[in-house]
Symmetry: C2
Subunit: 568 residues, 2 copies
């Protein structure tokens, strides 16, 4: 695999070519009130000085003996790559070279027995253990947060497709497999899992399950908890294996307790997943609605009438404007095709405009209801833009995270957050969240560009996904971001959203878990954690035993900006 970008997203051979998008930079300068002299480069990798690993030679040798000689790494590049996930806070600290708590070692088990041995070793030696898939967490899910010696368990070598049951259409797969490898093996047999999160290229099956992830096609294929038939989890008290059955009434769901546990109960080592035959036909196209509200209503009606696309994704007016600016690049085949085919003028004449419209990507796979879906959207005023834009979206769907690094280079704060709520509440939460982010960003001395889309849709509601950009408050980058993040999260919790629809909890969302589940519910889950992990070695300091409760942090989403300089 190509070398990973230690301070940012993906591999170093790839970037997001902002230079080829002539209008993009001018648009951002104006929108964010940039002065043009901002820049926030990463420090020199060679200047990084990590704390020496705190494992003894005897311990390291024991770890090698219970796995394999090459399975235990303590070199700086490996520890740096496992020190953080990929949240904005993480990327700021990496660029600054602030890595005070890297893991003391990274262990790469090759078998489930290796995992169990390392787990037992950690429990016996009071060593914290962090399961690690792709490291793409944006909520602090894989960061060492414990003063104890810490081992990160990278599951990359547990990457086999063990068996495919073609009759039941399930596949039993080891947890460390990455998206592209998984799909390649399934595709070769004619199947797909249909799980394509934006982190797809780097994230793993185990990570998806541990965080209750959702893919871009989750409206049709389902969220990961719907795709998972069973899991095998190694805990400090022993292995739990749930039954390979389509459904059960055998008490509370142990499976749905392990899904979403984020490494705090044990290590997911394998899972049996529901797979499907590769679709024979796909119809992905873009539609332009006259307003976000029109598009939201169309999605709701589609879903409630049983017209279920693989993906449906509706950008609000602000995101639609921005997408158009960013899409107008030199090599933009999809848009070129469209621009050539239907002049913008034609659209304008009919009352449509990218400046005040809402763009929808609507994709059906093997669906006899494609036409019905289109008809319904048109009845709500949608203009069919054809396949070009949707093809470009499909092609480029994993590129956006690279843009974040390019923007951060230029001194721009950029982050995303997401939630889900009922249809009845979508508009209110959308408005409230946008206002909160704009206001709290203003409080930090910057102007925010806030863009939202609806995606991951259900009969009863949908996810809201928000991207926000602002000029970095230099010297106070993390405090600035925390102000906005806390305000936004407080707003979500106060206005009927869930703490997260697919990013997970980690430690960044942990303070609000009492509010999500209630203190009684959290106490019960913590007691369960205590039974499985009495020594609290499994991913400590995260959601299930985080010391913080919602009363410890200011969740007033009008909170004023902390006028201080970041200090760790």
């Amino acid at each position: 695999m190509t070398e990973l970008r230690w301070y940012g997203w993906g591999t170093i051979d790839k970037t997001y070519a902002l230079d080829h998008r002539p209008d993009a930079w001018n648009f951002l300068r104006a929108a964010l009130d940039l002065r043009g002299d901002e820049s926030f480069p990463a420090c020199d990798f060679n200047s990084l000085r990590l704390r020496a690993p705190r494992l003894t030679d005897a311990q390291l040798n024991a770890l090698r003996a219970m796995t394999s000689p090459g399975a235990v790494k303590t070199d700086t590049p490996t520890r740096v790559l496992h020190a953080y996930g990929r949240s904005y806070r993480d990327l700021v600290r990496l660029r600054r070279g602030e890595i005070p708590h890297p893991p003391d070692a990274v262990v790469y088990p090759a078998t489930e027995e290796h995992v169990e041995r390392v787990l037992t070793f950690c429990a016996q030696n009071d060593i914290a253990l962090i399961p690690f898939g792709g490291g793409s967490s944006v909520v602090g899910g894989v960061e060492p947060r414990d003063e104890r010696v810490t081992i990160t368990l990278d599951l990359a070598r547990l990457n086999r497709v063990i068996a495919i049951d073609e009759i039941s259409q399930t596949a039993t797969i080891e947890a460390g497999i990455r998206g592209p490898d998984l799909e390649r093996e399934l595709n070769a047999r004619g199947y797909t899992l249909g799980h394509f999160p934006q982190s797809f290229e780097f994230s793993t099956l185990g990570g998806w399950i541990a965080t209750r992830g959702a893919g871009l096609m989750s409206t049709g294929y389902g969220k990961i908890e719907a795709l998972t038939q069973s899991v095998r989890v190694a805990t400090p008290r022993g292995v739990i294996e749930t039954r390979n059955v389509p459904a059960t009434a055998a008490g509370s769901s142990l499976l749905q307790l392990l899904i979403g546990s984020e490494g705090t109960l044990g290590v997911i080592t394998r899972a049996t997943m529901r797979v499907r035959r590769l679709p024979k036909t796909k119809d992905y196209r873009a539609l332009l609605f006259k307003s976000f509200a029109d598009g939201v209503a169309a999605i709701r009606l589609m879903l409630q009438r049983g017209i279920v696309p693989a993906t449906v994704r509706l950008s609000d007016e602000a995101e639609t404007r921005t997408l158009r600016v960013f899409a107008l690049r030199e090599a933009s085949r999809g848009w070129k095709e469209f621009v050539e085919r239907i002049a913008l003028r034609y659209l304008h004449a009919r009352g449509y405009a990218f400046e005040r419209g809402a763009l929808m990507i609507l994709g059906f796979e093997d669906s006899p209801l494609t036409g019905a879906g289109l008809t319904l959207c048109k009845s709500r005023g949608a203009f069919d833009l054809g396949h070009g834009i949707a093809r470009a979206w499909l092609r480029d769907r994993y590129e956006t995270p690279y843009l974040r690094d390019v923007l951060m280079d230029r001194g721009i704060l950029v982050d995303t957050l997401e939630t889900a709520t009922t249809w009845e509440n979508v508009e209110r939460l959308y408005q409230e969240l946008g206002r909160t982010i704009r206001q709290s960003t203003e409080g930090t001395g910057s102007r925010a560009l806030v863009m939202t889309h609806v995606s991951h849709c259900y009969r009863d509601g949908a996810s809201l996904y928000v991207t926000f950009l602002a000029r970095m408050a230099r010297g106070r980058e993390i405090a600035q971001w925390e102000t906005i993040k806390r305000a936004a999260t407080g707003c979500i919790m106060a206005n009927g959203g869930t703490l997260s629809h697919h990013h997970g909890v980690g430690y960044e969302h942990a303070p609000w878990m009492d509010r999500e589940n209630g203190a009684v519910g959290m106490d019960a889950l913590k007691a369960l954690k205590g039974a499985l992990d009495p020594g609290n070695v499994m991913n400590p300091g995260k959601w299930l035993e985080a010391g913080l409760s919602s009363t410890d942090v200011a969740i007033d989403y009008q909170e004023r900006f902390w006028n201080r300089t970041d200090k760790r």
Copy 2:
């Protein structure tokens, strides 16, 4: 409401008219090797002598003061109706008049505050508390199993539809509402929950959720855990209310932990349910396959191709034969219509026969794929029998439980059990389970009639539902049944089935929970129970803290019949 049948199913004004089915009795006599002199009448209700209620007058008055004067009952009819569920074991004991452990009182809360007060009272006074919905449990879910004073909390008065959110298509409903009342209120607003278990007329929303139930249309509408958006549960440690959102990634699923908890963690007092618009079109029809295997393959292919009927239900050859015999009654409109329209002779000429075919009920609601489903079935050899039989099935679908009482009157053991497994394993488990029930019944000196259907179907598998009949071993009715039940359950667990797909666990399935979840998983769930219910007052002696483990009971499904007389 009409008076309930204290020793059997439903109301006393209804019965299953075996007398009007001239062939049925002769068929059963032959199949079960009946001698004709069997009978097992219920004892005289007036001969029942219950233990005096063990609550003091002060306690009873306190309970009245915290609820309402009429809310606390200790009369014999009420206590008898709340002493058992409706399993075969329960019905045998009722007929014999064996009720050594009735609840000491039955309390009918009218508000959620009443529930919380009674719960606190029980926790403070070390009184066991059993939440009670319709009392239709067939797994011992509502029976007092604790030596302590026991109160049964009948939720019948908590029966309001609180609110319907027409935008999100959800309804917030109190837990004690019964099926017909719930559907009537929803239907009046144009909606349906789509949950129609066989117990529909008597069971409650809270009971469905507490036991992870499934309705006859669950293939299309989903099992209750898919229909439940959120719950409110009163526990001894306080109230838990999960968030009203379509999906979440906020850690392990607290919601899916409360669903299926069977009253052992707390009392479900309300839930927000996903409802749908009433279907505009329905197409229910019967098909005849040449074999059970052909039909199973057709269902699997339908589901895996995205053709999802509301209901699909395939009887094996034995059940098909029996259904035909029982359906040929005087007033059988559906069958008459069919018999008149297509002569059996015509079917025979084409190689179809009820004697060796498999009957399918296939129902689509508002589906554009009805034709595709039919075409697929026909490509697998199905003969379309039209709408008549299906209409009769729909009309009579809640009648079968009444038949059980009629058969027990005549000295026939009759019970059902169910599981779910993957498509790959359906045939093997089906064969093994049938053989096991026949053999273990033979070991008790009787001949079994075993009938199975596939229902509640998924992309990856389906439920197997087995009905078995045999001549009662008089004087040893319960021992005979236990022998068969244990053998069958052992067989399910040894052959890849789940302990239950929709009946639940109660105490009858509890001994196998270690095998279903593993001892580690059960220890974790028990720790969670300890945190919510430290005094173990919530439905004690059931699945979550049953003392029995799978090693305590003989689960060898070849186990020999216990040659002893039942004694409690």
